[in-house]
């Protein structure tokens, strides 16, 4: 390839915060003291906290330099499978920062917080419309908390019928958070193997579904980027035994405006606003994980719920069967504003188009790299495609070596070694906001790396060469943990 994105810029060294600064510096404009000091019992205080003192310039330089060691979507393509690293529109951030939203106290009386309540009420409606469900809660602060909320709803549903259940079915392609969330509700996860096509067969669900089983957790499209084609039949089997179908909406970005989750047989579904609805990932949060349900689960939704009466919005606690609160207040409102802004900007037609283009981009990559890398499931994919390192293993080059080398070419690596059903998995999710040019560059980079694997494997074993640090000794870091300086 002629020219790669990756190059070596000037990276500045920067010490740890407490290796900077001098005692007595302060970067803060202390508000004027206009009242007298009030005595405090001596044993309640033991002096100022042990924090480094820095000037404003110290702080600004420190974090600016740190930021330059990071790679974000704004810098380049981030094809991290199952994470939907799409572009984060800047307007959304600006609107979330409006004084009325950013400075609002959560316990303001309802008449003084109508705008926020209206926004949440409308957002619930939008999410319900997009998914084909009946009602929603916005409280869960992240996808995993959404999963937990979904499990609590299932638990409450079965309990209300006087028959709590003990097990839950989880496909082997599921995110690790699925079994972990189920276990928090006391459910024992029962693994269901996917078939040779990479999806669930109705038979294997029928073989394990019984009246002790609360339901099934299905990610559809699944983590191999494949649509679970037997989902209707699977839902029928689960429902027949009194179970519920939990939909993990992590991959909703593939099917907006295309699939009706309710019609598909899903009873409860969580969404990741930080994936499908464009809110920034923030280096690992804050996210937001709303949960949508069908009518029969609505009575169990968390309180308080926003209700509309006579043109006014109020928070209602009047839901006797509710599972209670999962958040002290109403969830990550700042993230909700961003998702609301995204949906209002896109409208139904553009959301559908976003899904189509996400799927188009993934299929284009799949075709472009087929033959370069081993493709374990050669079928039309959804928003992501999964390759493996089978071909490169001959040259003693593995997935990790190749994706580390990808950094030198100026891309963030895809998700690797997941899903577990594929050895040495390379899971690529480009998202719809990447253009054809960008994707062509990625394909070229991967082809160049595959060539390097044959010609000069050592180069890959030593990659990356252009980052702030080289490969970290992760085993050593875990053996002798140093978590605090």
């Amino acid at each position: 390839m002629k020219e790669t994105l990756g190059t070596t810029g000037l990276t500045l060294r920067e010490p740890l915060l407490w290796e900077r600064g001098k005692r007595g510096r302060c970067g803060f404009s202390l508000p004027r003291r206009d009242v007298d000091p009030s005595p405090l019992e001596a044993d309640l205080s033991d002096g100022n906290p042990d924090l480094p003192d820095l000037s404003e310039v110290d702080v600004v330089r420190h974090y600016t330099r740190l930021s330059q060691w990071n790679f974000g979507v704004d810098a380049g393509m981030y094809p991290l499978g199952s994470c939907t690293m799409k572009y984060n529109p800047k307007l959304n951030d600006r609107l979330a920062g409006l004084t009325g939203f950013a400075e609002a106290h959560p316990l303001l009386p309802a008449p003084l917080s109508q705008g926020a309540l209206r926004l949440m009420h409308e957002l619930e409606h939008f999410l319900v419309e997009i998914t084909g469900m009946d009602a929603a809660t916005l409280q869960p602060a992240a996808g995993a908390q959404g999963e937990l909320t979904g499990m609590l709803l299932m638990y409450a549903f079965h309990k209300s019928r006087g028959a709590p259940r003990s097990k839950i079915l989880v496909p082997d392609t599921a995110h690790g958070t699925n079994p972990a969330s189920a276990a928090l509700c006391g459910y024992r996860p029962v693994s269901v193997k996917s078939n040779a096509q990479g999806i669930l067969a109705a038979d294997s669900v029928a073989a394990v579904m019984d009246e002790e089983t609360a339901g099934i957790m299905v990610t559809n499209p699944n983590t191999l980027g494949l649509f679970e084609e037997n989902i209707r039949e699977i839902a029928r089997i689960v429902h027949e035994k009194g179970g519920l179908v939990y939909g993990d909406g992590a991959n909703m970005n593939a099917v907006m405006g295309i699939v009706d989750m309710g019609r598909m047989g899903v009873d409860v579904l969580h969404l990741n606003l930080h994936k499908t609805f464009s809110t920034p990932h923030g280096g690992g949060g804050p996210g937001s994980g709303p949960v949508c349900v069908k009518k029969h689960l609505e009575p169990f939704l968390p309180v308080p719920r926003v209700v509309q009466a006579k043109g006014r919005y109020v928070l209602s606690e009047d839901l006797p069967d509710s599972i209670g609160r999962v958040h002290a207040f109403y969830g990550n409102f700042g993230v909700l504003v961003r998702a609301y802004s995204y949906i209002r900007t896109m409208g139904a037609e553009n959301l559908k188009k976003a899904s189509q283009l996400a799927v188009l981009n993934a299929n284009y990559i799949k075709e472009g790299l087929k033959g370069v890398f081993h493709l374990p499931y050669d079928r039309p994919c959804m928003h992501e495609c999964v390759f493996s390192d089978k071909f490169q293993k001959e040259h003693k080059v593995c997935t990790l070596d190749m994706v580390k080398r990808l950094m030198d070419y100026g891309f963030h690596p895809p998700t690797v070694y997941f899903p577990l059903v594929v050895n040495g998995a390379i899971m690529i999710e480009p998202t719809e906001t990447e253009s054809k040019d960008g994707i062509d560059l990625l394909i070229e980079a991967f082809k160049a790396i595959a060539e390097e694997a044959e010609r000069d494997p050592e180069l890959l074993w030593n990659a990356p060469l252009r980052c702030k640090v080289r490969r970290m000794d992760e085993t050593g870091a875990a053996r002798n943990p140093c978590l605090c300086g």
Partner: protein, 443 residues
Amino acid sequence: MRYLPHTPEEITSMLEAAGMASLEDLYPTVPEDCRREGEPDLPEPLTEWELTDLANTLSATMASSPAYKVFLGAGSYEHYVPAAVPYLLGRSEFVTSYTPYQPEMSQGTLQAIYEYQTLVARLLGMEVANASLYDGASALAEALLMAVRIKKRNKVALSQGIHPLYRRVVHTYLEPTGLEMVELPYLENGRTDHAMLEGIGDLAAVAVQSPNFFGCIEDLQAVAEKVHEHEALFVTSFTEALAYGLLKAPGRQGADIVCGEGQSLGISRSFGGPGLGIFATRKAHMRSIPGRLVGQGVDVDGNRGFVLTLATREQHIRREKATSNICTNQSLCALTAATYLATLGGTGMGELARLNRDKAEYLKGELVKAGFRAPFESPTFNEFVLKGAPGFRETYECLLGQKTVAGLPLEPYYPELADHYLMCVTETKTKEDLDHLVKEMKA
């Protein structure tokens, strides 16, 4: 559509490469009976300018300073945020990156979180802190679940001085686990009645908040001794992190796990979220900690670097046996807190905390002079409970009309505390504001 870069020609050529005829053809594997009938019923798309108008209209309905004087705390606090903090946090390298799974490309986030863990541990007097949890409420629930795992006992005790909404979240988390939750009442002085621990056996943990929901500073040392007599873990919680700029750290008073809300540390209130779940403990319990941890290490050249570590506790490896289902932190909020703490420094934080307390004490004193009662006599930080005369509710409503929110009525949370209000004063209120409030409340 400005977020979708594809031209019609590009779409055609890409479809061709993928062997498809049209965008509608992209879903051959989706069965007919899973497809939606018709478009979702969503409003028509808005331009950037129309949407800005709409958002401005909605935002303008919200009561916020300077138009409103809001004396509400109760888990969400109004503090000044220096311009440098949101400026640095707006850097898109921090905002638009993912969880730092690839350390070579995320040293910025990793070092910043390692520093955050260190600052938090120092502030709370603990040995190790995690990379943060969702909020103060879920941090408390996770602390109790962790204590149950360590102690292998099925009962926990919570003070009624803990934020009532936090206790409700804990209840939601504990409900399906079969764990028993008992509450410790509060005394006439506003502190937790830890003598009630006598007679409760087999406890995994006892949780107390300080300053508690009434603003009262608990005698943590005394509670710790009682809790440790029971061989239970002592969990301390907080909603106002700034208090530890002044108060003795819980880690130096016998706490085994310290958890709470870090919103005060430079994070906007944002109608209650996102917040910051702070979580710290002793080294001995390091491998039982829920959530992410960043550790210091070296790269192949021996240079210092940072990585996510102790992943063997996590869902990727342990699945249903993981220490928790949490697979993120509130990274950007943790970074905000670290930036804020770095800006203040130990000296600045001490002075700011004292100013908060002094202003609250001034208001308390003036209100008592004006005939109100401060029923709980324990020392307080920047919040305190006030008892109004039976007719005060009308004055309160009337003040709302005059753009003053004179505290939080406690009756919905504590039915026995009718006519009681929780007042909060931070550095954002001037003496003039406080004098004005007293005058209005007296009227």
